[in-house]
């Protein structure tokens, strides 16, 4: 079910300095978001898109290694063709929730294993959900899908093919969708509030970002000529839609959010919230199963690990000693403070 295409592609051509800004994707700003992580190792980002097309839902994986200004990114895009287009779409999100759970399970195993140096993080960090611009808001299948997934992955709802809407329609649709998301209790990805010590410009950008959600996007794989410049866009008899023109659509906002400013937060929330939820549930299920039936083999070692070898035993003993000594010191200090 997965086709892994791995190829190196350099995003920035140093000779084309004028078009630099246009081709600049922006994930080189990630180091500014990262406090501790080693940039040299590179890191992973997995993006999942859910749209609706043919009969049965497939899961297609594409992996790409991208490098920009020395920062390496392994980007995995998981496509889900077939979602929601059958006559009967009951539970059409099941293959998707299964896939997400599988990645969590894999990570859980790796994390609980002995060799944790090279864990590959295939967990889905973000799910772009494309809402049809032709409806009047969310459709039943949109609501059901998002509710099935909002506790497993960061959902970023988007309004697709936004070039079929005029500005007033976009506004109305966004309002409607926001209302319905509230009404149905769907927990979409929330942009974190920026720190109070950030500069005004950043705060303004942050506000605009939050007010534009859900982003109305347009995509294009073609480059057209507009006003003497070559831009990514769509050519219609009545005009040219420029994908990277903020007056035309929110694509730039989405790209900024996804890559330049919030990529790390998306990963953090995935690790700290969604994955932890999964892990806690998993462990609970397993302990309840084990208390029922001792013969079930637990895939993850939650009871005492199989006897460790002599080296590790020594290490464990040393650490235990250290811990005990520290505890004693702490107790002494507490005593001293109380006495004073």
């Amino acid at each position: 079910m997965s086709t892994g295409l791995r190829y190196k592609s350099k995003l920035v051509n140093p000779e084309e300095k004028q078009d630099h800004e246009k081709q600049y994707v922006g994930f080189a700003t990630l180091p500014n978001q990262v406090h501790r992580k080693s940039v040299k190792k590179g890191f992973d980002f997995t993006l999942m898109v859910a749209e609706r097309i043919s009969q049965t839902v497939e899961i297609l994986k594409h992996t790409v290694d991208i490098e920009e200004k020395g920062v390496k990114l392994k980007l995995t895009i998981v496509d889900t063709p077939g979602f929601g287009d059958a006559v009967n779409n009951t539970e059409c999100w099941k293959p998707i929730t299964d896939y997400i759970d599988q990645q969590f399970e894999q990570y859980f195993r790796d994390e609980s294993g002995l060799n944790r140096k090279n864990i590959q993080d295939n967990r889905v960090h973000c799910c772009l959900y494309f809402i049809s611009p032709f409806g009047h808001g969310l459709r039943p299948v949109d609501v059901e899908f998002m509710k099935a997934l909002h506790e497993k992955v960061n959902i970023v709802p988007l309004i697709a093919k936004a070039d079929c809407l005029i500005p007033s329609e976009i506004r109305k649709l966004k309002e409607r969708i926001r209302e319905e998301i509230d009404k149905f209790g769907i927990k979409v990805y929330q942009f974190p509030d920026c720190d109070s010590d950030e500069d005004e410009e950043f705060k303004q950008q942050d506000r605009e970002l939050k007010e534009s959600a859900p982003f109305a996007v347009i995509g294009s794989n073609t480059v057209v000529e507009a006003k003497g410049q070559r831009v990514r866009g769509r050519l219609y008899p009545w005009g040219i839609v420029e994908v990277e023109n903020q007056a035309h659509c929110d694509f730039v906002k989405l790209r900024n959010m996804l890559i330049r400013t919030h990529m790390h937060d998306l990963k953090d929330v995935t690790c700290d919230v969604h994955y932890e939820n999964y892990r806690a549930q998993c462990i609970q299920q397993m302990t309840s199963k084990l208390t029922q039936d001792n013969r079930i083999e637990s895939p993850i070692p939650i009871l005492p690990l199989p006897t460790p070898d002599a080296e590790t035993e020594k290490l464990i003993k040393m650490k235990d000693e250290e811990l005990r000594r520290m505890q004693e010191m702490l107790q002494k200090m507490q005593q001293q403070m109380q006495d004073q």
Binding site: F134, G135, V141, C164, W238, H248
Partner: protein, 340 residues
């Protein structure tokens, strides 16, 4: 036969072996052509009926399209503030009738909308209420027709044309589209259109159309104008041209804008104004011409001579099989409970 004095054009009087088929030569103006005027005057006095049904998922612009077609607020959509679009849980049929007058000619237009079609998660059999409605109108007409003392003019509520709105995915017909059109093209004139076509570039439109035409052919779906019902070679040529362009890529609009000093119906976006009646922009004029200006009578004729007739034959055969003769024009009581 044209009442041209003295000289019959040779092509119009075919010399074949059967002398009875040869047209008579007229050597003076008789005035037969005046029957056209008589028909016109009569139609103007009595007016005529046209029943249109629109089917498609919510948000595809059905109501706007109907308003654009008839240049008036025909469709039942209230547009006050606080009005919320609500997707009903089951397919409902709502009919609205208006009398429209133009240059002394009165048309009784009935538009039947089908909210709820295709909007659920599970859309199995969502076409059943629609099929039921169409057959009910045939049944109504049939009962009037077989009365011993019939009305002079039987009220015609039969659906003359069913416009099916295909969402502009640009890919291919969905299973729902195929299921619906397959079943309905057998009992009513189905006119498929690509809704909200302003989201497709011209190339995408052409490709989409080709795929749709192929799909329809592959599934043996015969949409209007049906090849089998072309009366004569002239019709065939005309209809072939239309069949080449089906489904029409349409855009609907109910607002006017200023373009080059003229007021036009259109949609104003940040990259240009989409003029609904401009054939370079969309095919709305073709749809309007087909439904109203050129083929309206043909739609009614085919409904009466083909679809209604096959319904009638089917019903009468059923009643014969049950050995109940139509006494006093009313079918036996058991017929009332039949599978409609």
């Amino acid at each position: 036969m044209e009442g041209q004095p003295v000289q019959p054009a040779p092509e119009e009087t075919p010399r074949n072996t059967n002398p009875a088929n040869v047209g008579l030569e007229l050597f003076g103006y008789v005035g037969i052509e005046a029957v056209l005027d008589q028909m016109r005057i009569k139609t103007m006095k009595t007016g005529f009926e046209f029943n249109l049904m629109v089917v498609g998922q919510s948000g595809l612009g059905k109501s706007t399209m109907v308003n654009t077609l008839f240049k008036s607020k025909v469709s039942r959509k209230p547009t006050g503030p606080g009005y919320e679009e609500h997707i009903p849980k089951t397919v409902q049929l709502q009919s609205v009738t208006h009398i429209i007058e133009e240059k002394g000619v009165k048309m009784k237009l009935t538009v039947t909308d089908t909210p709820g079609f295709g909007d659920q998660i599970n859309n199995e059999n969502c076409w059943d209420p629609i099929i039921k409605y169409i057959n009910e109108q045939y049944e109504k007409y049939l009962r009037e027709e077989i009365l011993i003392s019939r009305k002079r003019k039987i009220p015609d509520t039969r659906v003359h044309s069913c416009v099916y709105f295909v969402p502009p995915t640009g890919h291919w017909l969905r299973p729902l589209d195929l299921e619906f059109m397959r079943r309905l093209s057998k009992i009513v004139n189905v006119v498929p259109v690509i809704a909200k076509a302003d989201t497709l570039t011209l190339e995408e439109r052409a490709e989409f159309k080709q795929r749709i035409q192929k799909d329809l052919k592959a599934h043996g779906i015969s949409v209007y104008p049906q090849e089998d019902f072309d009366d004569n070679p002239d019709d065939r040529i005309l209809n072939d041209k239309i069949r080449d362009k089906i489904p029409f890529a349409v855009v609907g609009a109910d607002k006017e804008h200023q373009v080059n000093g003229k007021r036009v119906l259109g949609r104003k976006t940040k990259w240009g104004i989409i003029e609904v009646e401009n054939p370079a922009h969309c095919e709305f004029p073709l749809l309007r011409d087909l439904l109203i200006r050129s083929h309206l009578q043909d739609l009614k004729d085919i409904t009466h001579n083909v679809h209604y007739e096959s319904y009638r034959v089917q019903r009468l055969n059923e009643s014969n099989r049950l050995a109940l003769s139509p006494v006093n024009g009313l079918l036996g009581k058991d017929e009332v409970e039949s599978d409609l």
